[in-house]
Amino acid sequence: MAAKRLVSLTPLATVQGPVGEAASTAIASINSELELWNGIQNIIYGLSLGSVLLLAAIGLAITFGVMGVINMAHGEMVMIGAYTTFVVQQIIRVSAPGLFDYSLLIALPAAFLVSGAIGVVIERGIIRFLYGRPLETLLATWGISLVLQQATRSWFGASNVQVGSPSWMSGSFDVGMLTLTWSRLWIIVFALAVFATLQLVLKKTMLGLRMRAVTQNRRMASSMGIRTPWVDALTFGLGSGIAGIAGVALSQIDNVSPNLGQGYIIDSFMVVVFGGVGNLWGTLVGAMSLGIANKFLEPFAGAVLGKIFVLVLIILFIQKRPRGLFALKGRAIEA
C-alpha cells in the first residue's frame, strides 16, 4: 500500500511549485513510516528467530549448567524431534486423517519422550563414564551425533522429508503494513510457554530442587541423600526431551533432513555462553538479542557475514565479561 503510494508520488516530486513540495514531504513521511514498519518487522522476525534459538539452546543450557557436559549431539536430539513429527504425521495420514490438525499436539509429547529416552540412554551408556573429562566427552558426543545422523539417513533417506502444517499454523495475517505468518507467531508463543514450564519444573518440583542443588554443590547434594547419578540421567533426559520439542517447532519452518541439527548447534552454544552458564533468564535474553541482532545485520551484511559479525561481537563481549551477560552476583555466590 505505502509502496504503491510511493510509486505514484515519486514523479510528482520533480514538479516545480507547491505540488512538488507537497509531494516531497509526503514521500519523506511515507519513507519514515516504511522505515518504522521495517524496524518492527525486523524485531518480530528477530524474536521468532530468537525463539527458535531459545528452544534449541535451553536444553543445552541445563545439561551444561547442571552437569558441565558439552553435548555435541544436542542438535541431533532436535533433529530426532523433527523426524518424530514426520512419523506421527505419517501414522495420522494413514490411520486417522481427521486428526491432522492435532498432529503437532500429538507430536509434542511423542518427541519429548523419544528424544528424552535417547538422551537417557546416551547418558547412562556413555557420558557417565566420562565425567570430569571434557575433551573425551566432546569427542564421544560428536561421534554420537555422526552416528545418529547416519542412522537417520539410512532409515529415512538423505533428502528432506515433508512435514505438513496444520491449518492453524499455515497462512498469514496483516498488522499495519506487515504481513506475518501464523507459524512465526506460534513459535514465539510456544518458546515462551516451554521456557515458563521449565522454570516451573525447576522452581516447584522435587526434581528441580535436586537439579539446582547438584548444580550448586554436587558433593554436598550427594551427602544430603540426593542420588546424583539419577539426577544426571534425568537432567540429560529433560534437556534432550526439550530439544525434541524444539524439533517439532522447527519442522514447521525449516527443512527436515538428517543435517537439521547441525544448523543450530553452534548458534545454541553461542546463546548459552552469551547468556551466562547456569542461568535460564540469561539464555532467554541471549537468544532473543542474538535473534534480533542477526535480523538487523542481515540487510547490511547478508546472512553469512551478519553471522560472522555477531560471532565477533560475542567473542569481544566474552573477553570483557567471561561469565556472560547475567553473571550471578552477590554474597550468595561468594559463599
Binding site: 539446582r212 558433593r219 550427594s222 544430603m224 546424583t228 550471578l328
Partner: protein
C-alpha cells in the same frame, strides 16, 4: 554404632590418615580434637563417603560401608555438617532444608519441629537465599538441614569455627538436646577445647594422621594430653 578400623587415606601420594581406629556409641557425643592439618576432616570425609579409604574399614550398625556412595550413607542415617558449612548458596533456607527430604523416608518428608525449636532464627528466614545468611545463621541452617534427613548419626566438622560465643552456646545446647532427647549418636570434630570438654562423653586426639589419645572428657586436662593440642 560406627566403627572405624585401621583406616588409611591418601590424596595422591600424600597420606592423610595412618591406621585410624575409633568408635562412636549410640546416645553419646564423641569428640575428636587435633591441630590444623592432622587429618580430622579427611577422616570425616571417609566416614560420609566423600573420599575412599586406601585401606581399613568403616562399619555402621554392623554393616561395612565399603564403597557405598554418600547418598546411600545419608539414606542409611549418617548426616554430615561439613567444615565451611556448604550451604547451597542460591537455594532459599526453606529449599536448603528440603534437600534433606531426599534421605528421609516417605512419611518423614517434612522439617521436624525441633529444628525450629533449637534454631528459631531459621523460621524467620525461610524465604532468604542461603548464601545471604551470616556465618552463624548458616551454621544453624547446616545443622537443621542435617536433622531433616532424620539421621541416627550426626557428623559435625568444626561447627564453632568463626562463630560468636552466644551462637556457640546455642549449638552446644542443641547437640546436648539431640543426644538426650532423640538418642542421636554424635561425632564432633573440634579445635575448641572447652566446647569439647563440656559436651563430650568420649574424646580422641589426632596428630599427623593418627589417633594419639583416647579417654573421657576429664582426661583433656592432663599435661601429656595437652601437649598434642598446644600449637
Amino acid at each position: 554404632m560406627l566403627t572405624v578400623e585401621n583406616a588409611s587415606l591418601h590424596y595422591g601420594a600424600a597420606q592423610a590418615l595412618r591406621g585410624v581406629s575409633l568408635e562412636v556409641k549410640p546416645k553419646s557425643i564423641t569428640c575428636v580434637l587435633g591441630r590444623n592439618g592432622v587429618g580430622k576432616t579427611s577422616m570425616l570425609r571417609a566416614i560420609v563417603g566423600q573420599h575412599p579409604l586406601s585401606s581399613g574399614s568403616i562399619s555402621f550398625d554392623g554393616t561395612v560401608l565399603g564403597k557405598k556412595p554418600p547418598y546411600d550413607r545419608a539414606r542409611a542415617g549418617i548426616a554430615f555438617v561439613p567444615q565451611g558449612r556448604e550451604i547451597f548458596p542460591l537455594l532459599t533456607v526453606r529449599e536448603n532444608l528440603a534437600t534433606g527430604f531426599a534421605a528421609a523416608k516417605r512419611g518423614n518428608r517434612n522439617v521436624p519441629p525441633e529444628v525450629f525449636e533449637l534454631f528459631p532464627v531459621l523460621k524467620t528466614m525461610l524465604g532468604r537465599r542461603g548464601g545471604d545468611l551470616s556465618g552463624g545463621q548458616q551454621q544453624q541452617l547446616a545443622i537443621g538441614r542435617a536433622l531433616v534427613t532424620r539421621p541416627r548419626l550426626l557428623v559435625l566438622d568444626e561447627p564453632t569455627e568463626g562463630i560468636q560465643p552466644s551462637i556457640i552456646k546455642d549449638i552446644g545446647r542443641a547437640i546436648r538436646f539431640l543426644r538426650d532427647q532423640t538418642g542421636l549418636a554424635i561425632l564432633l570434630v573440634e579445635q575448641y577445647l572447652d566446647f569439647c570438654r563440656e559436651l563430650a562423653d568420649h574424646v580422641y586426639i589426632m596428630d599427623r594422621g593418627e589417633i594419639v589419645h583416647s579417654g573421657d572428657a576429664a582426661s583433656l586436662d592432663k599435661p601429656e594430653v595437652r601437649k598434642f593440642l598446644t600449637v
